[in-house]
């Protein structure tokens, strides 16, 4: 069809449509002028039109309506498309199990893809739900992340991170050991962490462990694992029979050993392609299992691995390895290294030197310390150094007998132990004579006959023993300090103190024990928070925050040194020491173990003598190596201990939340979180506070009519206001809207949140109207929030409105009795003065507000604002002092954004005072990492100016160019004309066309200070070009005369007017003032006479 035809067609169609059906035929014929083809088309279209129904009708947009969920497997397919919790739209079913079905889903709020498990039975038991709540607060690397849970209609659901991958082991079966080694080791490490957190999976099987393309396993379905303390009789047998341990089949409670059994089955299947042979009969008398039959030998499988599998599959739980960590030790040597090489040597090497020195003197020496204390690493370092000086090293280890001094042939002919010892002794003495050094690691586990020989020879040569317990004159590695740990990390330091924070974080989790440090480092890499770079760990700021945000450090429970060898009361106290952290002093432990302090003191000393703990009063006792708490206490007692520890700590204390969670006292969590969040905000750590509060919302959401729900949301809103975080307000609105019948208190809160959101989105007028028309809040803090939103909104509307809003708020603020309100009022006034151009007053008011601040973060913020006011008032000396003061204040808190801003300002002040003579091209990048709007652009401009003054034109040009680009990318074209003008000035041959283009932009620039500078620079760059710059009277009138001599971002007004700039020559010579073209300034830039 061509356009003309279409036109005719349309005419005919329109005419005919206007007539009733019967009359159309004639009309069509007439309109088509007898063309049958056209006639046919028109008739066809009319027919189509009649049948079109709603086709192409403009649609309304409606909110998705939650569908009622149906339970039962057959209904799985029908659930697709339903929206759960008002937020998750279910997609296709991706799995099903005994407990329920899993659908892929989409989180309509964030757009993320998630997995949603719809459960068959309601998890009615409160205890179980609190388990899940606790699980959400503890993030375990290698375990799928739980995001949300709730009830839709009468069906409960769980929302988890969507994990893709193949079921364990992720490769085709049967697989050689080397293909699965990495995955198997990672899975064991994850199991270890799960058990340490006090959970047992109960349903471990290949389908529940998905392995990604790089072989990393993720464990699923942990949220449904029961706490071992809970009876499971009413549920019957849970789990897939093939992977269940015999005790589970008998209906007994599952223990970590049951998980290990399942792992053994999985590993067996992976290596052989078959399940281990066993016959199980489910009979009247219960289940009887024959032990697994003999396996065919598997090629490519190291003996250690086969041995481990056999042990894991032992029917009696007592015969299996007790912990996943123990199982891992069996694999040592059989598994490939997972981290690239060892950790770099951290801390000082006094110990290593001591060992080496002893060897050089020919003396024997002992190194003591519990497992994981770094003792092995220490002697390895020492051995390495000695080897490099040419000495022979003899390494004695458990299980190797005299292998390092006698070879197999010699060994074979020996008939008795005494004979062997004699031969070995002689050989050893001979080697000592040649200067060899003997190292004996893990002394207590070396065979007795080897030890005898070594002990006898101690006097004849150097024997370095590594011991568990203590010994006379022994040296011990000290735990790593934070300073030592900083060397482990890479990262930019000035703004971010990344290494400090990372070192602190790893110190908290490891207590400085090298083995724990290595494990923790490996866990971070596995979880994606960090990477190895050149032998050191690079952690991102984001990674560190995620590591901390919302996760609560629960002290270790399982894994570690077995305490069963101790007497009953010592055992208990040792376990409690592990849980108590910094409270492990006699006074601190007294209420927990209920003994007088002096008795506890005595027992702690006993434990110290036995090498279990380190104890140096008045400090707390600390385990020398992690202890297996569960070998001394059962889970009830552990929770009880945590409860008592929580009770002795003041609310808001850093450790208290961990103990509350450890006690599973979920009701107490919200109040504690609120306190902790408040403390964090006072320290300036708003991000972490907000994460914690966000998690707490999930915990209290069950009872939306209760006070805790409202309180947590209120705190979240206040935190959001402090941090300018739209996410907080969004969350508040969302949570309130999800309530079926929100109380008026909540509705009002949501209104305030919407108002604040509007402010962040730029719709200030509506924000202002809504904030003004709201009824005042009875709670003073919330009322202050409302007034704040109001003032901030009014500020957008110009000075008159700002004044009006502040006036209106001041009556309330001065009488409400809330000190923060009075401070806020002073701060608002300061900004008003600033906007009025009364910079000196503004600076003073900010200083006053800083003095009235009750927490370091607020104080730092006010001091920073003061610097801005002083700079804009051109009072550079004061600004310089003020920025130093502000930087000191910021050092007390953690606010990279504020710190970056201050560094930026400090540099600019230094430039303006003329004391910055070398450009620092890396500084803008570092500042840019704080990700605050235009800071990087501004910092680049400052460095460009510094470079320019120093005579380094090329550098200046490139920095200026970068600055301009950054401003443009932010949409701040007006700011960009200054760096663009500077860039042109630094060019060897500036393009006239470009100059004109910049001149046009300057003409429309609303900021006189920038315009004057840019115009001056442009005139200096292309002096002969007539640029038709507009008269600058308006600009100059806006800039107070006394400030003309003061340097601004690049030039002072006088320099711009007279085109006379002090800068070094290109050859670096300090020439003083240099005129750019030696002539008087062009007329169009000279100020008019009347001042």
């Amino acid at each position: 069809m061509n356009p003309a035809e279409l036109e005719r067609c349309m005419q005919a169609f329109g005419d005919a449509l206007a007539l009733p059906e019967g009359a159309r035929q004639g009309c069509i014929d007439a309109a088509c002028g007898g063309d049958p083809e056209l006639s046919r088309k028109v008739r066809g279209l009319l027919g189509t039109h009649a049948r079109a129904g709603e086709f192409l009708e403009p649609p309304p947009i409606s909110r998705a309506v939650p569908a009622r969920l149906l339970t039962g497997a057959a209904e799985g397919g029908r659930r697709e498309g339903a929206v759960v919790g008002g937020r998750y739209r279910l997609g296709e079913r991706i799995g099903s199990g005994a407990i329920g079905e899993v659908h892929a889903a989409e989180d309509l709020l964030t757009g993320e893809k998630v997995a949603c498990k719809v459960l068959r039975h309601a998890l009615v038991e409160h205890g179980l739900r609190s388990e899940i709540a606790a699980l959400r607060l503890l993030r375990i690397p290698g375990v799928v992340r739980m995001i949300d849970e709730g009830i839709e209609g009468d069906t409960p659901y769980l929302v988890m991170e969507l994990v893709t991958g193949a079921p364990f082991p992720g490769v085709a079966l049967p697989a050689p050991w080397r293909s699965v080694a990495g995955t198997a080791v990672a899975l064991l490490e994850t199991l270890d962490r799960i058990h340490q957190a006090g959970f047992v999976h109960r349903d471990l099987k290949p389908g529940n462990v998905l392995v990604d393309a790089e072989g990393r396993p993720t464990v699923l379905d942990l949220g449904l694992a029961l706490h071992p303390g809970r009876p499971c009789a009413d549920e019957g047998i849970v789990g897939t029979p093939n992977y269940l341990a015999p005790e589970q089949l008998r209906g007994e409670r599952a223990t970590p050993a049951s998980d290990l059994f399942a792992f053994g089955v999985m590993l067996h299947e992976a290596l052989t392609g078959d399940l281990p042979r066993r016959s199980c009969r489910f009979g009247e008398a219960g289940v009887q299992c024959a032990p697994p039959g003999p396996r065919e030998s598997v090629a490519d499988c190291p003996a250690a691995v086969a041995d481990l599998v056999a042990r894991l599959l032992k029917p009696d739980a007592e015969d299996r390895p007790r912990t996943a960590a123990e199982a891992l030790r069996f694999l040592e040597g059989a598994s490939p290294r997972r981290s690239p090489g060892r950790l770099p040597w951290l801390g000082d090497d006094a110990i290593v030197r001591a060992v080496v020195a002893a060897a050089e003197r020919g003396e024997s020496v002992d190194v003591c310390g519990g497992p994981g204390s770094g003792r092995t690493r220490c002697i390895e370092e020492a051995a390495g150094r000695l080897e490099r000086t040419g000495r022979t090293i003899l390494r004695f280890r458990q299980g190797q007998g005299f292998g390092c001094i006698l070879d197999a042939a010699e060994s074979a002919v020996l008939g008795s132990v005494d004979e062997a010892k004699a031969v070995a002794r002689a050989r050893l003495e001979q080697l000592f004579g040649e200067g060899a050094v003997a190292f004996a690691d893990d002394w207590e586990r070396i065979e007795p006959w080897v030890r005898d020989v070594l002990s006898e020879c101690r006097g004849r040569g150097t024997v370095v023993r590594v011991l568990d317990g203590t010994a006379e004159g022994a040296i011990s590695p000290t735990p790593l300090s934070r300073a030592d740990l900083m060397d482990l990390f890479r990262g930019p330091d000035p703004v971010f103190h990344l290494r400090e924070h990372a070192a602190e974080a790893i110190l908290a989790k490891s207590q400085g024990r090298p083995a724990a440090v290595a494990a923790e480092a490996s866990a971070w890499v596995h979880a994606g928070f960090a990477r190895w770079e050149g032998g050191r760990l690079a952690v991102s700021r984001d990674g560190l925050d995620r590591l901390h945000g919302g996760s609560i450090d629960e002290p270790q429970r399982a894994g570690g040194r077995d305490l069963r060898g101790l007497s009953a009361d010592l055992r208990r106290i040792a376990a409690v020491v592990q849980l108590a952290g910094a409270q492990a002093t006699p006074e601190g432990l007294a209420p927990v173990v209920r003994l007088p302090a002096w008795q506890i003191d005595a027992r702690l000393s006993d434990l110290a003598a036995a090498g279990i703990v380190r104890y140096a009063p008045p400090g707390p006792a600390a385990p020398t190596a992690p202890l297996d708490v569960l070998s001394a206490l059962d889970q009830e007692e552990v929770r009880d201990a945590h409860a008592k520890l929580a009770a002795t700590l003041p609310p808001g204390d850093e450790e208290r939340l961990g103990h509350i969670v450890g006690a599973r006292d979920m009701d107490a969590v919200p109040a504690e979180v609120r306190l902790r969040a408040q403390r964090l905000m006072d320290e300036g750590r708003c991000g972490r506070a907000i994460s914690l509060l966000g998690e707490a919302v999930g915990a209290v959401r069950d009872d939306p009519s209760g006070a805790p729900f409202a309180e947590v949301l209120e705190d979240l809103l206040l935190a959001g206001l402090r941090a300018s975080s739209a996410g907080c307000f969004d969350r508040v609105v969302y949570e309130v809207e999800m309530c079926p019948e929100p109380a008026p208190r909540l509705g009002k809160l949501a209104d305030l949140a919407r108002s604040a959101l509007g402010l962040l989105r730029g719709v200030w007028e509506r924000s202002l109207v809504s904030a003004e028309s709201m009824e005042p809040f009875p709670d003073a803090r919330l009322e202050l929030a409302r007034q704040t939103v109001r003032v901030l909104a009014a500020r957008r509307g110009g000075i008159a409105r700002e004044r009006a809003a502040i006036d209106s708020a001041s009556a309330w603020a001065s009488t409400c009795g809330l000190p923060e309100a009075r401070r806020a009022l002073v701060s608002w006034l300061a900004w008003l003065r600033y906007n009025e151009g009364r910079f000196a007053e503004a600076a003073d008011l900010h200083e006053r507000a800083a003095g009235m601040a009750r927490d370091p973060a607020t104080r730092a913020s006010s001091l920073a604002s003061r610097v801005t006011a002083l700079m804009d008032g051109q009072r550079l000396d004061e600004a310089r002092r003020a920025v130093r003061e502000a930087l000191d204040a910021v050092a007390l808190i953690r606010d990279p954004a504020l710190e970056a801003r201050l560094l930026c300002m400090e540099r600019s002040v230094e430039y303006r005072l003329g004391i910055a003579d070398r450009p620092d091209p890396d500084l803008p990048c570092i500042i840019g990492q704080a990700d605050v709007r235009d800071l990087e652009a501004f910092a680049s401009l400052t460095e460009a100016a510094i470079a320019w003054r120093a005579g380094r034109s090329d550098e200046a040009r490139s920095l200026a160019s970068r600055s301009a680009r950054l401003y443009m990318a932010l949409g701040m074209e007006h700011f960009a004309c200054l760096p663009d003008a500077l860039r042109l000035t630094c060019s060897r041959s500036p393009e006239p066309a470009e100059a004109r283009s910049i001149a046009r932009r300057i003409a429309s620039c609303p900021l006189p200070g920038l315009a004057v500078q840019a115009a001056g620079l442009l005139a200096m760059a292309v002096p002969d070009l007539s640029l038709a710059l507009p008269t600058p009277d308006a600009w100059l009138q806006a800039l107070p005369r006394p400030t003309w001599a003061v340097r601004r971002e690049v030039l002072s007004v006088e320099e711009a007017l007279y085109r006379r700039v002090e800068r070094r020559g290109e050859d670096g010579s300090a020439d003083g003032a240099r005129e750019f073209h030696g002539e008087a300034a062009a007329d169009d830039l000279r100020p008019q006479q009347p001042a």
Partner: protein, 187 residues
């Protein structure tokens, strides 16, 4: 807190009026961004009203961008014309990405499903519609524009007439024809 420039949209609209093509481009891109954001909000259920028409959505976008109470109709008229284009572009873009994702391309976040669904319900595959509309535009530009304004912009026939500078009756005729033509074309 974020910065906004209340005067810019009106300025842009005036420039567009004066024939500045670059201004139209800027406006177009800006509106697209705003629509996407608004679509997010609506999906989250932010506004108090339970249902909202396309008009309200575009109105909302205008308010946010213009930063104040509604301006003159003359300005808004242009805005709506561009907004309808932007809306179409946003939805077609979204459909294209979804199609690519099904073939195994890169999966991007697509929080616009909620917004797109009602359009798809009434017009089927938006990519096909887009193509068909382009074909129609080659044959009769204004008719295609009418569809764009009404379906993607949510304008009434009267409002569309004002935008295009023709009578309401003309718009109605062209609208009905377009529906039939497209229906036939899309099978």
């Amino acid at each position: 807190m974020a910065d906004e420039r209340p005067g810019d949209i009106t300025l842009l609209l005036r420039r567009m009026d004066a024939g500045d093509a670059a201004a139209q481009e800027v406006l177009y891109v800006t509106i697209q961004g705003q629509l996407r954001e608004l679509a997010n909000d609506f999906v989250r259920g932010q506004p108090a009203e339970a249902t909202l028409g396309t008009t309200a959505l575009v109105n909302e976008a205008y308010l946010r961008l213009a930063g104040g109470p509604e301006g003159e109709w003359k300005d808004r008229r242009h805005f709506f014309a561009v907004a309808a284009m932007a809306m179409r572009s946003v939805l077609v873009d979204h459909a294209r990405r979804k199609r690519a994702a099904k073939r195994g391309g890169d999966m991007e976040r697509v929080p616009l499903d909620g917004l797109a669904a009602p359009f798809e319900e009434r017009a089927g595959d938006l990519l096909d519609l887009d193509e068909a509309l382009d074909e129609l535009a080659a044959l009769h530009a204004r008719v295609a524009k009418v569809v764009e304004l009404r379906f993607f912009g949510g304008l009434t026939c009267a409002e569309a007439g004002k935008v295009l500078g023709v009578s309401t009756a003309t718009v109605e005729r062209e609208w009905e024809f377009a529906r039939a033509w497209l229906r036939e074309r899309l099978g």
